[in-house]
Symmetry: C2
Subunit: 761 residues, 2 copies
Amino acid sequence: MQNTPYVLELADISLDRYHLNLNEVIFHNANGYIGIRYDFEEGYPEGYNFTPSQYINGLYDYADLPQAEKLFGLVNEKQTILNTANTQIIRIMFDDEEFSMFKGTVLSSNLRLDMERGITVRKVKWRSPQGKEMLLTVTRMASFYQLPLFTIEYEVEPLNFSARTVIDSVHDGTVCNYANPADPRLACECVQYLTPLGCEIKEATSYITSKTSKSNLEICSGVKNVLFQEYQQEFVIDNNDAHCRFHTYARQGEKIRLIKYAVFCDSIRHGNCRLQAEAEMERALSTPLETLYRKQTAYLEDYWNSCRVDIEGDPESNAALRYSMYQLLQSVGKDRFSNISPKGLSGDGYEGHFFWDSEMYIQPFFTITRPHISRTLIEYRYATLDMARENARILGHHSGSLYPWRTIMGRECSGYFPAGSAQYHINGDIAYAIIAYYLASKDLAFIKEMGAEIIFETARLWIDAGNFHDGKFHINEVTGPDEYTCLVNNNYYTNLLAQYHLNWAAKFYYLLKDSQMLLELEEKIGISEREIELFQKASTGMYLPYDEKLGINPQDDSFLQKKRWDIDSIPPHKFPLLLNYHPMHLYRHQICKQADTVMAHFLLEDAQSRETMLNSFKYYEKISTHDSSLSMCIFGIMAARLGMEEKAFAYFKNIIRVDLDDTLNNTVDGIHTANMAGSYMAVIYGFGGFRLKESGIFLAPLLPGDWSAYSFKISFEGSRIMVHVKESECKFVLEQGGAKDIHVYGDKYLLEDVLIVKRPK
Amino acid sequence: MQNTPYVLELADISLDRYHLNLNEVIFHNANGYIGIRYDFEEGYPEGYNFTPSQYINGLYDYADLPQAEKLFGLVNEKQTILNTANTQIIRIMFDDEEFSMFKGTVLSSNLRLDMERGITVRKVKWRSPQGKEMLLTVTRMASFYQLPLFTIEYEVEPLNFSARTVIDSVHDGTVCNYANPADPRLACECVQYLTPLGCEIKEATSYITSKTSKSNLEICSGVKNVLFQEYQQEFVIDNNDAHCRFHTYARQGEKIRLIKYAVFCDSIRHGNCRLQAEAEMERALSTPLETLYRKQTAYLEDYWNSCRVDIEGDPESNAALRYSMYQLLQSVGKDRFSNISPKGLSGDGYEGHFFWDSEMYIQPFFTITRPHISRTLIEYRYATLDMARENARILGHHSGSLYPWRTIMGRECSGYFPAGSAQYHINGDIAYAIIAYYLASKDLAFIKEMGAEIIFETARLWIDAGNFHDGKFHINEVTGPDEYTCLVNNNYYTNLLAQYHLNWAAKFYYLLKDSQMLLELEEKIGISEREIELFQKASTGMYLPYDEKLGINPQDDSFLQKKRWDIDSIPPHKFPLLLNYHPMHLYRHQICKQADTVMAHFLLEDAQSRETMLNSFKYYEKISTHDSSLSMCIFGIMAARLGMEEKAFAYFKNIIRVDLDDTLNNTVDGIHTANMAGSYMAVIYGFGGFRLKESGIFLAPLLPGDWSAYSFKISFEGSRIMVHVKESECKFVLEQGGAKDIHVYGDKYLLEDVLIVKRPK
């Protein structure tokens, strides 16, 4: 695999199953609304059981979630992402020879993802068994400009022959979700959630409208094939497969060019999705493809301009980080009906659910580069606030809202509540992300409109869930980020975030009150000064475990009394532990799946001394398995923060190519968006020492490994700052907006135009 | 319902569904091997969806136990009790009129359970729609003398007519388990586990052999009908229903008498169950029915003679307690292949699984009255020890054995491990019961043979599960008896029993060593003095939570820091809480389903001061819902122990008629055997103040409520002692065996023949 900053290229496309399966993910096209896994248009031979998948962000059906014991309030139904109509298939036949890379001879082949142009291009030079040689070029795009649109530009050049040619372009409405009975993280059975209601041909466009089995949603896909030469066209509809067949003639040396336009609309966003699909198709066809490509490039130019990171002296990491940032843009929801799932729109893994990954790993990237996307992510949470209220009632709370641990449309989908619904920190995570958005944007109008209601409602939950005991505020029976220790009392992470959250709830209350922006909310949810005082009392009295002897923050009340488990004593094949040990065994030991207390230290570094953070880092590092892909980036950032530069760099190197190298052996299920964003954070928050605080922005850049220099950009209160770090100095350039105070290595500077600060030796 | 000590009688049989459904349980016939619910031989009208059930103790099939998330080690398959071939059906037709209590006129009716004779008798005087009057008498018996045998003696006397008569006696091999989708404690779907392999008629006996669907077991039932008058007989086999039809003539004033013999054999106990069924049938037929009745009476005479309790001045309680004790005999397994389930053999509730109910509630009754039954119950645990070893490995333990929380054949069947497999106290419970059996019998040979291996193996588990912390031995992440608080650290009950268990493991080691009885076991499981020292160290160092301020034993490390929940604030319709609150909500509060610490105090009263027990009782009583039927008996016993006689009596009155009055609204699912045994304990351990300790037996009788006197019997080291308590004095009579020391009101006496001790004022 060749990898330059903006291009990922496979020089010879391997035809073994493993690599083809991986390519489905690595080269998928998405735009945050639709996601199309990369499959060969002409298909695969028998036995290659791939499931070409097309996803729509936020679209779901319900599936049963059987519980072994039917305890009150357990979740019995989950939402699941859907595979929608397949619009990828294009077969081409010259006389009686059908093109396939698995027949004849591939003379050369090449697959490229171009991240400046937002397209994938496959080129194949092929010789048929009978000796026909041709050159195929397929360009695929999920348009950022027109979100429902996916295009395939299909060009064939006959090199040494002319022949009668049939092109069969298929639009297949009968699709199943991917299944793998061997992997607990995936569905077991190949379920067909969508039932096609019919297939219609109108103006040579096929429209297939389908209905979900239980969620009562509809989706319509429209497909139009435009062939740029003489042909005879016929449509064959076979059991909700629409075949558009062109009978044409291929002439040696003349390119056959076909554009296949596919649009996807759904009833969540578009009401009558059938009509909307028609409108979208009209819109797509009214713009030349070249213009659509140009708009794609323009969109990406703006994107890279706002967030680009350049690393000098480490081209591998530089390219991988670029790839990660491209995937984040491909994955993130662009409206309030969706968010960003751990696998983006590249696979069924985790069933397309949204987790805390969004707020704690991915949103920070957007908050400091493209804050409007961050705001949209918060709008999604606001749109599901009522369901968070219901969820709190199910869990026995009289007031407040509790966001679900995993969900698509807002209702809880955790089957195993001790490592699911019990993760109350989700409330603190969402609050933290809203506060961060506010700190970066100072957008108080949005806080008034949506942010404050979420903050207040979720703050109420802490009051209802917790209780004072011996003068301190305790939060019992919750699970922190570390899923190897469940249902504990006073998880440090949870309590620290709850404290910060309650504190900010009070701040927002007075900020809005002072700006006469509180009235509506007072009326709507009855928030009052008396309640704010309760928030403050709980925040001030929050119990935060600290162990004098070790000088660390214990992960929870009883963590340190448990058995220690020497990681070195565990045979390598027993990792990840969750696949090899009973949960109770894990809970009984001092063993962590991922950063927990260490993550709290990263998020709120001023809440404890450097010494406590250092002691804690050392303590937890020894017992953390990093069985979650959310772990190493945080350890890396804290290693950098605490002066362990080499260690930080080692962590970074470990995570920067997780998907490109398939190091976790599960990239086929989808990319790891949180790890990708974590890699970004490892550079900006880790090596750059960036922090966003109430008192402003802070930087303390390191120059790790072999890097000769690196640069990144920060959006802050409407200004854009470019940070350029090299051996001797850091340069800060105000690219856009008004002057800003920035803190560098602990000193405050006013950045007006360019600022240069010497790097400490 | 009329209820004299030995007879339970319904004067007029109600025909409404509720009562008939209840009678299926209340009047069921069982002998510890088979259990037959009480159903009318002639059946019920359409719409009475009863499932006439015949159970075999310990016979099981496997059923899927789907887990919402497939975590490592979770149970995916459970065992379930089976409904076996129905041998109850007998229809009778006079000319064209078929007998049914739902047609014509019931002139009188009556249903009796005779607990001295071990039979149920139904008498019906009936007038047919056409005016035929007849008297029906049906006597049913599950033989204690021949366990596989169930008989129905069916007598009809035509009072005012003669007529051609057809008797259709059915043996139905196509049966399903009972299901109720509305109740989480029962199966949802009507599953047919048994597949009949065929039906065979041999010597006018029908044999149906069936195979379980997954557990690879077979069962054979044989049915023979004997009619004592002239007849023509035909057999009709219809899809594994064997109909034995008699064509005969009914003459006015002359009784028609039919005996229906049914035998049940299974491949667990009988190898070739088909051959064994034939042998059993031969054996049954070779004994006149009157002799079988006499043997039944003799068996029961011996039974009552060994355990009878007589209460004077409270006939209602007296009769109810007799009923309970009869049910315990009906329910308890008589061989090592079975135990005693919470519903006995009277219903499908809890799927026929065996729990700690056996050891902690039911076994004490047998230990002090019929110790050989107690020994058989331990033999069942011994027979499943290998599976307990496997279970420990699944849960991550390197050594030791952990008994399953619920099981039939020895493998864990808990679907929800926090309130299932996490109840490690099951190990301590089984150890406690073995120790109690030893204390009552001094049967060291049995300890050598089986008891010690269980004790050592389960003791090893404490060592593997626990760990030293700050110099004390901790047991983390387990669940105590109270299922409203799960996965806690240092549950007082668990730790106290573990301490006692480890301590006795050491005692048994040296007892056996000193008697040269250890060699085999040393070889088999490698137990050594070094390991015993570990046991002693953990026992001595066992951490036992105590709260200075409240002067109580906290239920676990963090129990007291949780929110208090005022029981009075909970609306009555919200009980039992488990059906109305999410588990996490329950766990977060100081609220108990049942006795936990209070139960530990009962079991090991010398481990803490009276003051601590009193403070604890008062503390926990306020927050205990008694949502489990295992709770009140323990609170009652401890109330008596702590001088709250009135309260103790109130608890007793609350539990003594749970099934007879269906106070929990679920007796249709089966009797509550643990509550029945708990009622017995409430008298002997509660009012009688009985305790069995290493230092001997202790008594401190009270005379509660309106009782003028009561008496009970205790078997101890081969002697039988009758205790008679009245207002002024307690009389102790040595009925059998050698002289014994007994402690009465704290003083030690030698009981040689009769001893009279004044009751304190």
